[in-house]
């Protein structure tokens, strides 16, 4: 790595450390574990069956966001990294939804349902 690169990295590291402390990391970990327990809990409770899928997707999205923002430091880092990650992530979501729509659309056309 170049001297400039090392300096930039050090500065970025220092900035990251200033924003996210060990206490923050531990709090995030506790929240992640609690959300996982809630996910598993609602899976077994029959009363939640009607809202299970949206509820699990929201909880999963919250966990995903917490890890990306705090553990991957995207909240404190250069916004360009958010663009580099968010762009393909959005595209991947579009691919998933499009494939599901195309596939189930084709099935509906074939079966007439």
């Amino acid at each position: 790595m170049s001297e400039h690169g090392a300096g930039a990295a050090g500065a970025a590291g220092a900035a990251g450390a200033a924003h996210a402390t060990t206490g923050t990391y531990l709090r995030i970990a506790a929240i992640l574990v609690m959300i996982t327990l809630i996910e598993v809990g609602v899976f077994y409770v029959p009363a939640f069956q009607s809202v299970l899928v949206p509820l699990l997707l929201v909880l999963s999205a919250v966990k995903f966001t917490l890890v990306v923002m705090f553990y991957m430091h995207l909240k404190f880092d250069n916004r360009f990294f958010a663009f580099l990650f968010g762009g393909p992530l959005l595209l991947a979501l579009v691919v998933v939804v499009s494939l599901l729509l195309i596939f189930y659309g084709a099935v509906r056309l074939r079966t007439g349902m």
Binding site: A8, A29, E39, V53, L56, S60, V67, Y71, M72, P88
Partner: protein, 183 residues
């Protein structure tokens, strides 16, 4: 722009990985519930066991950020410890996946048994391969740290390793929900 070139390249790589896993997850979802023969997901997926694997991977992410924080402040004793803990938690996850796959094979679910088997093994197997690469990477860093070749000046190397490891974790967060909990 004032961004580090290695970090920028790695974020771009992670972006491309989003597309890889996005297509594998889409394939799994498209073929979900379309197996003509068993075993079916609800018959063999072990939620309590996979919940433990999820907890293990979340804790490995915590260990990874603690390792990075320690290396950044020059505390290499803690840095070495947390790097080793991260790698060991990764190995525990891989052991769990090996046990799960062996169990499924014993129950009659192979790669070509049905659509569930094919899509499940390809998706979780690809993730497992990524975890394996991550564990090797972490152990390499740990060996470097033990030899005294890793210090605060190499904090960016540890940060990039961390980015990879956390990405593997977020992919599992999605897989755990989509494959295991939404049956």
């Amino acid at each position: 722009m004032g961004v580090d070139n290695r970090k920028m390249a790695f974020w771009a790589f992670i972006g491309s990985e989003c597309l890889l896993f996005g297509s594998l997850i889409a394939t799994y979802l498209v073929y979900k519930g379309r197996s003509l023969v068993g075993p079916y997901p609800h018959e063999i997926l072990n939620i309590p066991f996979t919940s433990f694997s999820t907890f293990d991977l979340l804790m490995s992410s915590l260990a990874m950020v603690l390792a990075l924080a320690a290396v950044q402040r020059g505390d290499m004793k803690q840095g070495k410890l947390w790097l080793l803990v991260t790698a060991l938690l990764g190995l525990v996850f891989l052991g769990g996946q090996f046990w799960e796959f062996s169990n499924f094979l014993h129950e009659g679910l192979g790669l070509t048994t049905n659509l569930f088997g094919s899509t499940f093994y390809v998706l979780t197997g690809t993730h497992g391969a990524h975890v394996t690469v991550g564990v090797i990477w972490l152990l390499t860093l740990w060996i470097q740290a033990v030899r005294g070749k890793l210090g605060p000046k190499q904090a960016l190397t540890v940060e990039i390793t961390g980015l990879y490891w956390h990405f593997v974790d977020v992919v599992w967060i999605v897989i755990f929900t989509v494959v295991y909990l939404i049956q």
